[in-house]
């Protein structure tokens, strides 16, 4: 059944270069959202409306997908993304202590962003670098055999 999108017409100039590269099929939803997040840093309510209209799917479906997958953020993220691995190997080698140290240093819990939008901290299931556990990823760079002191030092270097 062909649906007509009921989403309001919203214009986000940042996405002008993005949308035309995606065909109007539902299967494009996740790749499109991934690129929108790369562009905007997160998925704003307006971005969801734009996406729904472009792909001709209900906004509720877009919201459903955004909230289902842990990769998508609904809020603005910090300039530096600190991801602490909580895979099994990292867990038995002390990932909990690292999360505690990082949270204490930045004053935020995993999943939160500092007020100045400098840092976001999150726990990630596994980076597949288990042989070097515990692992911390800061801005896409993977660090192995991390200790709580090392993690705090790395944060201090970024401040």
């Amino acid at each position: 059944m062909k649906r007509r999108s009921k989403s309001p017409v919203v214009h986000l100039p940042e996405l002008d270069g993005v949308l035309p590269r995606y065909t109007r099929e539902e299967s494009q939803l996740i790749p499109l959202l991934q690129e929108i997040q790369d562009t905007l840093g997160y998925i704003s309510p307006e971005a969801m409306q734009v996406t729904a209209r472009h792909l001709n799917v209900p906004e509720s479906s877009v919201y459903g997908v955004v909230t289902f997958y842990s990769q998508f953020y609904l809020t603005r993220q910090g300039r530096h993304k600190v991801k602490v691995c909580q895979g099994t190997a990292c867990h038995v080698r002390g990932a909990v202590e690292i999360i505690r140290a990082v949270s204490a240093r930045l004053g935020i819990k995993p999943g939160e962003t500092t007020e100045d939008f400098e840092f976001s901290v999150e726990r990630v299931a596994c980076f597949g670098s288990c042989a070097l556990a515990p692992v911390v990823v800061i801005d896409e760079k993977v660090y192995g055999n991390v200790t709580p002191e090392m993690a705090v030092r790395m944060l201090d270097e970024l401040v």
């Binding site: 099929e25 539902e26 299967s27 494009q28 939803l29 996740i30 790749p31 959202l33 991934q34 792909l55 799917v57 479906s61 459903g64 997908v65 289902f68 997958y69 842990s70 990769q71 998508f72 909580q86 895979g87 099994t88 190997a89 990292c90 867990h91 038995v92 080698r93 505690r100 990630v124 299931a125 596994c126 980076f127 597949g128 670098s129 288990c130 042989a131 070097l132 556990a133 692992v135 896409e140 993977v142 660090y143 192995g144 055999n145």
Partner: protein, 613 residues
């Protein structure tokens, strides 16, 4: 161009690389290597070479499997055998280069030939290699994963060329002879899967490679895609030919950016060589592959959830039948194989199914890669014939437990698997024996645990994961994992009730029996195996409110040893919960009601006056 032409052209192009007497520097640069510092070495190399007046080409290779020894550098040339150096740092790099290429005495981990050199053993003689047979990992660290010529020169795509000369039915027959079973977890025979899909009449069919390696503790698929992406791609093309698919997807985790990059390059190169795309090798068979990046949902490793995700929806599984082979992606017949399963296919097609079946046991044929991690001396990626004993893997290959600690258990199969205790160390590792022990093969993650690991904490940890990853569609999984987690949390906090262990078992069995998909059906396995083998630890958590491994925070009691305390007030100042009282120069007191067990007082005390129990 015929395949023979492609082969001879690739052999000529790869010859300088494959001749290990030619000067060359190889740096292991998969994610593990990079995390250990390979990128820094690559950045420092040009300066060092310039200082030494050397002009030597540097090549990035994949993972040799010795992750504990990363970063690894292989030096070739200089009238010596090629040598492999471990734990290279930017400081030691210059010295090693000077010693190898000038007239020093380099201290290497191994020679990269079959022969030892003086005190340096050959690579194959390293203890970590004992009993390993490398089929899937045949090219790891031996080729540039971004160079298709290297892959072809080491007999890559020969399996595809042979398959295209056969009927699809013959290809499936060859896979049947090999006894290859799915390497992603369940161990379903690959030939039956292909046959089911092959028998469906449809204009359009899909071939999908499942590279959504979500099990925490597993990194086999990442290593395959980063170190030898063409082997999976070739297996996928052969599979597509066998089932009659013209389109395919590789579903990769977004957490594996390097794997995605290398697979993208592999697809482009294979297409350029006519090994992928329209009319492959002039056979009339066409196959096109796209990459789909996952978006962070463990459940998408389940077949039907993955299909929903590729179609652009929430990744929730659905009931079967219909099976994906009948109605899969966009309602068309679809076959889904795991990365490692597919990486085996080129080898068995080239040498025949019978040769493949020589390794392994009666019902578990071939070799299997395992990711060794946790409390083990030599972490890394290994490949052994199925049926190898756990003891051999943990102690001979992995070198046992570091720091003179005692082995407690090995966890296989991630959140769907179980913990295998010391008394079962002689268990042959194959599909049947692991299932009998209550664990599963899973994709091959093995996390070793020592005496400092609390088994209640481990089970609780896995439940926290599966509970968060439960998609919420079916009730037993959504609510059952939640209730299990609450019960486990109360055990870890020390406020569980008598009978809670049996209650946990009841709920666990209900979740196992009633859940819709593999996630829920296997989520209780970590609990069931730890209760089975380590019930005494559960009892001491429930009855004595004691965690012998000092892991469960809620059961820790901090106290001041009055005789040792000098009253320096350091702990008093460090305590964020104002749980410590006392005057200067008099012993302090910790209020257990206020204590949040943050460990701050323990760390700050210089007089060993704080105890944990």
């Amino acid at each position: 161009m015929t395949f023979a032409d492609i082969q001879s052209r690739a052999q000529a192009a790869a010859a300088p690389f494959l001749d290990s007497s030619q000067p060359r520097i190889l740096v292991g640069a998969s994610t593990c290597g990079k995390a250990a510092g390979a990128d820094d070495l690559l950045a420092a190399l040009p300066t060092h070479l310039k200082e030494l007046g050397l002009a030597i080409e540097v090549t990035q290779v994949g993972c040799l499997g010795l992750c504990y020894a990363e970063p690894l550098v292989e030096l070739r040339g200089a009238d010596r055998p090629p040598l492999l150096f471990n734990g290279v740092t930017t400081e030691s790099l210059g010295k090693i280069l000077a010693a190898y290429y000038r007239d020093g005495e380099p201290e290497a981990l191994a020679t990269m030939t079959d022969q030892p050199c003086g005190d340096t053993p050959a690579f194959g003689q390293l203890p970590m290699l004992s009993g390993q047979i490398r089929v899937v990992s045949r090219n790891f660290g031996r080729i540039d994963p971004e160079n298709i010529d290297h892959y072809i020169a080491r007999s890559g795509y020969a399996g595809l060329a042979r398959a295209l000369d056969m009927d699809p039915e013959q290809v499936i027959e060859e896979v049947r002879t090999s006894g290859l079973r799915g390497r992603g977890g369940a161990g379903f025979p690959a030939a039956i899967k292909w046959e089911l899909c092959c028998n469906e009449e449809a204009g359009q069919k899909y071939m999908i490679c499942n590279a959504d390696e979500g099990d925490p503790g597993a990194f086999m698929d990442r290593s395959v895609l980063e170190s030898d992406p063409h082997s999976t791609l070739e297996g996928m093309i052969i599979g597509a030919y066998a089932i009659g698919a013209s389109e395919g997807y590789i579903y990769v985790r977004a957490e594996y950016p390097l794997a995605i990059e290398r697979v993208e390059k592999a697809i482009a190169q294979a297409t350029e060589y006519g090994l992928l795309g329209d009319d492959i090798l002039g056979s009339g068979f066409s196959f096109h592959v796209k990459i789909k990046e996952g978006a962070g949902a463990f459940v998408c490793g389940e077949e039907t959830a993955m299909l929903a995700s590729i179609e652009g929806r929430r990744g929730m599984p659905r009931t079967r039948p219909p099976f994906p082979a009948q109605s899969g992606l966009f309602g068309k017949p679809t076959n889904i194989n795991n990365v490692e399963t597919l990486a085996n296919v080129p080898v068995l097609m080239e040498h025949g199914g019978a040769a493949f079946a020589e390794n392994g046991t009666e019902r578990s044929r071939g070799t299997k890669t395992f990711a060794l991690a946790g409390k083990i001396a030599r972490t890394g990626l290994i490949e052994v014939p199925l049926g190898t004993s756990l003891r051999h893997i943990v102690f001979d290959i992995g070198g046992g437990i570091p720091d003179e600690k005692t082995f407690k258990a090995v966890q296989t199969g991630g959140p769907s698997g179980g913990c295998i205790p010391a008394e079962l160390l002689d268990l042959p590792v194959d599909y049947e024996h692991l299932a009998e022990a209550g664990a599963i093969m899973g994709s091959g993650g093995m996390v070793v645990m020592d005496e400092d690991t609390c088994m209640v904490d481990v089970a609780r940890y896995f439940l926290e994961f599966t509970q968060a990853e439960s998609c919420g569609k079916c009730v037993p999984c959504r609510l059952g994992t939640r209730q299990l987690l609450l019960l486990m949390n109360s055990m870890a906090r020390g406020d569980s009730k008598p009978g809670d262990i049996d209650l946990v078992l009841d709920v666990a069995h209900a979740v196992k029996a009633g859940s819709l998909c593999g996630l829920g059906q296997t989520a209780p396995n970590p609990i069931l195996t730890t209760v089975k083998y380590f019930r005494d630890e559960y009892e001491s958590h429930v009855k004595e409110r004691r965690c012998r491994a000092h892991k469960c925070e809620g059961l820790l009691r901090y106290a001041v040893v009055a005789d040792a305390c000098t009253g320096c007030t350091a702990c008093f100042k460090a305590c964020p919960a104002e749980a410590i009282t006392g005057e200067p120069r008099k012993p302090h007191i910790i209020d257990p009601q206020k204590c949040i067990r943050c460990d701050a007082c323990f760390q700050v005390c210089k007089f060993n006056a704080i105890t944990k129990s």
